[in-house]
């Protein structure tokens, strides 16, 4: 069994390691967990002894298969709880993260499977992120950033990159959410902003925003 702290490190390493072949740097982990590099080195050594990561001094870390599976399980719990909070307890998608961050550490073999069944085996969390299955398999869907769409292309919103409350509330205000159809009417070369049609309305979206919305082209 892993401590809460160990689990947070494992999850951080997993997330930092998506689409990266090299070892994850000490500093990157420290930054993500808002801690100091020296603390990370300490923890890395422990995780290395527990065979969760492979670690060579100054080379960064990589998750072992065991580590990846462990990470997937924590993420599975995190995302299932997020679904529960939004679907059953009236949380909005910008309120769930902090609580799920705690709930993901609850240890109970039965709890998470029953929760999964109770929720109807959801495939994605409230932010559009896929929920790993019991064996840690994570279904990848094909998605692209709204920013990559060309003029007159259409897509449907399937996720967000930035999951901060600020951004999510901004999207709420603009009436942008998962499943929403989005059409690029025009691109402004001056500031790379987008004129899009959402919900029948035409609105302007900054490049930064367009780079934080995932869509599926259609």
């Amino acid at each position: 069994m892993f401590s809460q702290s160990e689990e947070n490190y494992i999850k951080a390493i997993y997330h930092l390691g998506v689409e990266v072949t090299k070892g994850i740097s000490t500093n990157a982990i420290a930054k993500r967990l808002e801690t100091k590099a020296s603390s990370v080195t300490d923890m890395i050594k422990k995780l290395s002894e527990k065979e969760v990561v492979v670690y060579k001094k100054y080379q960064g870390v990589t998750l072992t298969d065991f580590g990846k599976k462990t990470a997937a399980n924590i993420i599975r719990k995190h995302r299932l709880w997020e679904v529960f909070l939004v679907e059953e307890l009236n949380f909005s998608w910008d309120e769930v993260h902090e609580v799920a961050e705690q709930l993901e550490h609850i240890k109970s073999p039965k709890l998470i499977d029953e929760l999964d069944a109770f929720l109807g085996y959801p495939k994605r969390d409230p932010h559009g992120d896929p929920i790993p299955d019991k064996d840690g398999n994570l279904p990848q869907i094909q998605k692209s950033l709204l920013a990559t769409l060309q003029k007159n292309e259409k897509g449907v919103c399937v996720g967000v990159n930035d999951t901060s409350s600020e951004f999510l509330r901004f999207l709420d205000k603009q009436e942008i959410g998962l499943g929403q159809d989005i059409e690029v009417l025009d691109k402004e070369p001056f500031d790379d902003s987008f004129l899009v049609k959402i919900n029948g309305k035409e609105i302007t979206i900054s490049n930064k925003v367009a780079n934080n919305i995932y869509i599926q082209k259609k």
Copy 2:
């Protein structure tokens, strides 16, 4: 905010303090939490500084009003989660304790109120114990031990004293549960056992068992 450990101490002191006017002894707390007396003394000092308990050396501790309210809130969370596990996630009443012991420490103002509403504001947990309201008020019901019933008296099962898995599974086997009608047909002076009628069946119940079942006379 209190740490998980602090919360467990507060809860233990609360439970030990029910119907006791004197201070709760260090040893009693140690026994309940399966820890050492010296550890208890350490923690007691900390809780005393935080004004959760009143403590005089060698005199045991008493919860302050603030401490009582804090305890009630933890117990509220524990019991609401137990209801959730049994009512929604197919846990049986002997499986919930360990998980609720973890869930009770989740910090979220919104979570527990929404859970309460989601569950339909339950008044009692799966073991018949009352659920404190938001302000820490705990409705006391009138209940007595089955062992206090006289021959030919009847009652309905409203709770259990021992909440161990062993005892609860034993009750399941005997088909004894909350809401069950129980009639004392006879008392055996030799071993103080009881002949009772439950579910139309006549069964013999040891004195020990009779001292762990709460009933409401009728």
